[in-house]
């Protein structure tokens, strides 16, 4: 066992390095990914070691980046695309939705599009407009795409390599405010399945389900609730498409209560889908309606207001109390 302690950012960097060493067809593309190593330094040092032909600085044109990545994938390459920030993905949304997601089906399965689109996403770093959004629902809703988000260094390391190995297009959301959080990574481990949820804290009274940046908040909420004598289980969903409903159902059947937490607006969000499906699957187990905690139906606010906008410990605990009150 080779366990190393590293930040999520470093884990992603090591993961990319491993993938590029393993498969010469893996390419990295994006704005500033070369010499600079990306604005978050996730690709730091990779161009130096793998060359400009494999770590490709691109013009500032997101549709062009994804569109050419599709062409490279058609030629047999496995491009890993970096979109600099969440709010900048929309110029590429057309290519992702109308082309990348559908081409495998349109060809009756004869061609594959192993393209990974990495997106540093969500808030909490005091950024300006378009730098803090959580658009995961817009991608999870699209058949043909897979959508995942790691919440810790080990998942960052393993999930990214698994996404690159996948023959399907994967939208890989990186929780940017967690980039510097450190955790243990076993680089020799046999990783779990990419789309399986994981119970990160066991409990008996209620399940908190989250992914990406909100897993940490939910872990803190569970710890705080424990001090009040409430036993809260936390499930890290890890994947938003597909969602591991079997794993979540198993947890809810134990705890009989569910609160889903994400930063994205609640309305029509991932939590809404989970509430509907878990209600269908667990109707006779549930002691309370599935509750949701998330962003408001408003544009992501200026940085000075984001602490109010983002679900924090208190809002999660409030939902826990409301659920337990039924």
């Amino acid at each position: 066992m080779a366990i190393e302690k590293m930040s999520i950012a470093k884990a992603l960097n090591e993961s990319l390095r491993k993938a590029m060493e393993t498969d010469p067809k893996v390419l990295i593309m994006g704005e500033d990914v070369g010499k600079l190593g990306g604005v978050f330094r996730i690709t730091d040092g990779l161009q130096k070691d793998f060359g400009e032909e494999r770590v490709i600085d691109t013009p500032l044109a997101e549709s062009g980046i994804v569109g050419t990545a599709i062409g490279l994938a058609l030629r047999g390459y496995r491009p890993v695309v970096e979109i600099q920030f969440d709010g900048f993905v929309f110029p590429a949304y057309d290519q992702i939705v109308t082309q990348l997601a559908k081409m495998h089906a349109r060809s009756l399965g004869t061609i594959k599009l192993p393209v990974v689109i990495r997106i540093p996403y969500a808030g909490g770093i005091g950024a300006v407009e378009h730098h803090s959004e959580s658009p995961e629902t817009l991608f999870a809703h699209v058949p043909g795409l897979k959508v995942v988000s790691p919440s810790n260094a080990s998942d960052a390391y393993w999930m990214l390599q698994q996404a690159i190995l996948s023959d399907d297009p994967v939208i890989f959301f990186e929780p940017k405010r967690r980039y510097w959080d450190k955790g243990e990574v076993d680089v020799d481990a046999i990783p779990g399945e990419l789309h399986k949820a994981r119970v990160t804290r066991s409990g008996t009274d209620l399940t908190l389900a989250a992914y990406g940046p909100m897993v940490k908040v939910c872990m803190e909420a569970a710890a705080a609730a424990a001090e009040e004598g409430k036993s809260v289980e936390v499930v890290d969903l890890r994947s938003m498409s597909p969602v591991d409903f079997d794993g979540l159902q198993a947890s809810v059947e134990r705890t009989r209560r569910l609160v889903v937490v994400h930063e994205a607006p609640v309305f029509l969000g991932v939590g809404a889908e989970i509430a509907a499906r878990i209600t269908e699957r667990c109707f006779y187990h549930l002691e309370a309606p599935v509750l949701r905690v998330g962003g408001f139906h408003a544009p992501y606010p200026p940085a000075r207001l984001e602490d109010e906008y983002l679900p924090g410990l208190d809002r999660v605990l409030d939902a826990v109390d409301r659920s337990l009150a039924y």
Binding site: P59, G71, A105, T110, K146, P242
Partner: protein
């Protein structure tokens, strides 16, 4: 001599790399020298609308392109003619099948046969084609079974052929998207060290899309072996070119740093020559080229629109006199390259093709219901599996229950 053949003396090219040096004065006059969009087109032409070969000896600029078709024999000319006639027949049959309710929609290539056959026959087997949804003639040149093209228009699939069998990608309906796929593919070709080339087809309407500009820029920046082949057929559904551009399309290449050239899109020989030239540049590592084939869509944009509502009969009539097929026929007849027996034989072959297409389309089976769930993902997806199972159970619940 016609205006067009006079114009053939001066093939117009923008040569970005050559002209970039003298920038100061060029900048000052750029706006003034840009051709208005409706200027009399000046284009490369090797065969006049009357079917006369433009004499390379008389026209130094034409002499540059004539060598690219110097190897074309009389038999080759008959082959090009056959391609155009059969493509038109296939296209006409598809239009008729749509009118009969056998196809949901059809995008006719009527009038654009020379642009497609000329460019399509310039390609090598190992080149790769990224078409829009109207490249039936190019598909023909690639050896794609034409009846395969009809599946998506009949509604039995979304383009169900294997693109790698004939190096002919799926039809792309979103305008201009495929120019980026072609550019990325060409980047891959260059990385592989291969000497094949990539060609992206699009129309004048697509030239307004940002993706096309991004494709131009990426291909220039990475010096990718891609040929952008724009068929300017003068109309984007009901929008004329003056609603789409202020300067001629081929001139845009200069701004991106590669050559652009306008060719008579109704002249199959000129299209063949210019495309060969552009492909050879790509193979030599000289990067992208923009070819604007100046042509005309003689029919509707698709069977859903009615061109009589937006364009004048005189315009259509003027272009009918430049018909790409009639012009090569006139040449073949005048030069003794083909006799009536050849044309009669081809007519019979056309009839056979038409009959075959009708029969295949009418016997195309509807896809299996459960195909909805097939190939959504390469590696599978739990939700798709769940919904497939639920729907199968739902369908099974009807069996014997009535």
């Amino acid at each position: 001599m016609t205006v067009e053949s006079t114009a053939a003396r001066k093939p117009r090219r923008s040569s970005g790399t050559k002209r970039a040096a003298g920038a100061a004065s060029a900048r000052k006059t750029a706006a003034a020298t840009a051709q208005p969009h409706d200027a009399e087109p000046q284009l490369v032409q090797l065969l006049t609308p009357e079917g006369e070969r433009v004499d390379a000896g008389d026209h130094p600029d034409v002499a540059e392109f004539a060598p690219f078709v110097a190897d074309i024999t009389t038999e080759d000319l008959r082959g090009l003619y056959r391609d155009m006639v059969l493509t038109r027949r296939f296209d006409g049959e598809a239009t008729a099948l749509q009118r009969q309710g056998e196809l949901g929609l059809w995008a006719s290539l009527l009038g654009q046969e020379a642009a497609q056959i000329g460019s399509g026959r310039a390609l090598r087997d190992d080149d790769y084609v990224f078409p829009t949804y109207r490249e039936h003639g190019v598909a023909w040149c690639r050896g794609v079974d034409p009846t395969n093209l009809l599946g998506m228009f009949r509604g039995v699939n979304h383009g169900g052929w294997d693109p790698n069998t004939n190096n002919f990608h799926l039809y792309t309906i979103v305008i201009g998207s495929q120019t980026l796929h072609a550019t990325g593919y060409a980047m891959g070709v260059a990385k592989d060290g291969a000497d094949s080339a990539v060609i992206a087809y699009f129309g004048d309407g697509a030239s307004s899309q940002g993706d096309v500009m991004e494709a131009f820029n990426f291909s220039a920046v990475y010096n990718s072996p891609v040929v952008f082949f724009c068929q300017n057929n003068q109309w984007a559904i009901s929008e004329p070119t003056e609603r789409q551009m202020r300067v001629p399309l081929y001139q845009r290449a200069q701004g991106f740093g590669f050559p652009g050239i306008r060719v008579d899109g109704n002249d199959v020989l000129a299209c063949l020559a210019v495309t060969r030239w552009a492909l050879e540049r790509a193979r030599r590592g000289e990067g992208p080229t923009l070819v604007e084939a100046f042509t005309y869509r003689m029919g509707a944009h698709t069977t859903s629109d009615d061109p009589t509502k937006y364009r004048r009969d005189e315009e259509t009539a003027a272009w009918e006199s430049k018909d790409p097929i009639l012009r090569l026929k006139a040449h073949l007849l005048a030069s003794g390259g083909a006799d009536e027996a050849f044309f009669a034989e081809l007519e019979a072959e056309s009839e056979t093709l038409g009959k075959h297409v009708r029969e295949v389309v009418r016997s195309m089976p509807d896809p299996d219901t459960m195909a909805i769930f097939e190939n959504v993902y390469a590696d599978g997806h739990a939700l798709v599996d769940e919904e497939r199972a639920q729907f199968a159970a739902y369908l099974a619940s009807f069996e014997g229950g009535e």
